[in-house]
Symmetry: C2
Subunit: 311 residues, 2 copies
């Protein structure tokens, strides 16, 4: 898939080359993410060293070649990974340390939609916010890809999970993600607080409520700002709770940080994925060559979980 | 010292009683802090269990009695401590685990002005923001009590310290706090960034600049909001730096958290205080009975370091 002046065209590119520590992967599925839509609009350029014009931040597929220093994967293995770009293609280069083994019972479409949102949610909840058993977690924007991952990871970790969902039609889906999940209208969330950890996937308009519902020593992770970026923050409220506001994105991180995030996710989440305790709801799949329709579906909103391109 | 309808009066109170693990201390010096002025105005009530009407968040003095379970201090010892209130008095109760030994060569006035600002700065810089050797530190509002402590602790820890001071008359004093300290006009600070750690002692108006000068993985600690509490925070900028904004206050913390902060300060800073590598600049001292004049001097601003009441 190639971005040409904001349009998506299916064009031939030279095959990527696997370096010493890389896998070459025949892509079977590649999830769509908000970053792809931003990149298409020219707002989220690929980092240096990544294909500048081929979108795709995650993929799943079969290993078709390995570099000479690769130790943990072999030709024929099913893998999935977050990539810096170029995932929405027939072939992609994946550094071995960024690759995750796809469990046997996980279908390609689910695997293609797993890495980006589960890495983002896992990193924000556990690595950044130290979510632990018994913590009161609030996920704002829980029906989207990262939200669906975060709600499930929170349940898995023994947190008390409240999820806000704007669209009433999506609330039953979110409630079904795990035992004990409380689904709330965003306007009513204060009745369910305070929260030790708040995952903010909506943006600036939520920050005043986030601060008002933060527990002592609470942590807010801002991962999505689709509804706005300029937030009003009452610093006195932040001081009174000894609170923390963190912002984060995955894509610009260093190779080693991405490897560390992938290894942490492999250790903490792949056993649960293999056991069926984590799942990737897929709203719709589209063939890679019909990416424009997939992007339009994503932009239309109201989806639950992931939209995935299949190869 | 007693707060009576916003005025300060020297009144007799019953002597405090030392519990099993407490020291009874004859106060020789008690530093003033912004919190005292807020408490006098009714804006910063004492926490439960502390004298509601006797101000004073820190003190130094001689131990005159000890509870039966006290192990580390004895009658006659010189001690200093952060207290939840009641420091500006002839006698004060200090939990043993909150007390710090006053080094031999440190005068009472300096000791009385040491605990609150050095605990606040040490906790913010090291415990909360993980300041370490080589980090680029910016202290906004560096001529005040916490600022003077933070600049010195930053130099001691091998950080590269930039200090902003609004009043040009105070800049030479701040520059003399340590080798290599860069003193900047607040309006010019961007020329000295980016910073790994920003200690914000001024408040909301600085936040946009704080975010614009934050390094990747940078940490902002908001400890003072005298210039305003409602900040505009660009969440996109926070995400791009994977930045952190923390708010904090010492006073409402639990007994154990205050003990941990005191023990950390004793371990990390008392040797340097004893060696003369940390100092407490005292602008003026006033007898306890003349507290009103001391509070007026504090409120007038433009001081460098501490104002201390002496007993």
């Amino acid at each position: 898939m190639t971005i040409v002046d904001g349009a998506l065209e299916w064009r031939e590119h030279p095959d990527p080359v696997a370096g010493d520590h890389d896998l070459l992967v025949a892509v079977r599925a590649a999830g769509l993410n908000g970053g792809d839509l931003m990149q298409r609009r020219g707002l989220y350029p690929a980092p240096p060293g990544e294909p500048p014009d081929i979108p795709g931040l995650e993929l799943a597929g079969e290993v078709v070649a390995v570099g000479p220093s690769v130790r943990d994967f072999a030709v024929g293995d099913r893998v999935m990974a977050v990539v810096g770009g170029g995932g929405q293609a027939e072939l992609a280069r994946v550094p071995e340390r960024h690759a995750l083994a796809v469990p046997d019972d996980v279908a390609w479409a689910e695997a293609g939609g797993f890495p980006e949102v589960f890495t983002t949610a896992h990193d924000a909840l556990f690595t950044q916010c130290g979510l632990t058993v018994g913590d009161r977690l609030c996920v704002h924007g829980a029906a989207g890809g990262v939200g669906v991952a975060a709600v499930q990871l929170g349940v898995l970790a023994g947190a008390q999970v409240t999820a806000t969902v704007r669209d009433p039609d999506r609330r039953a889906d979110v409630a079904a993600l795990g035992d004990g999940v409380t689904v709330a209208d965003p306007a009513d969330v204060a009745a369910h607080g305070p929260f030790d950890v708040i995952l903010e996937l909506v943006g600036a308009p939520n920050l005043p409520t986030d601060l008002a519902t933060l527990a002592i020593d609470g942590r807010i992770a801002v991962i999505g700002i689709g509804a706005g970026a300029k937030a009003e923050v009452h610093l006195g409220a932040l001081m009174a709770t000894r609170g923390v506001i963190r912002g984060s994105t995955l894509r610009p991180r260093s190779f080693e940080e991405k490897a560390a995030a992938a290894r942490a996710l492999a250790r903490h989440a792949l056993p649960a994925l293999a056991a069926g305790r984590l799942r990737v709801p897929v709203t719709a799949t589209f063939p890679l060559a019909e990416a424009t329709a997939a992007y339009d579906r994503f932009a239309a909103g109201g989806k639950f979980g992931k939209i995935v391109l299949t190869g």
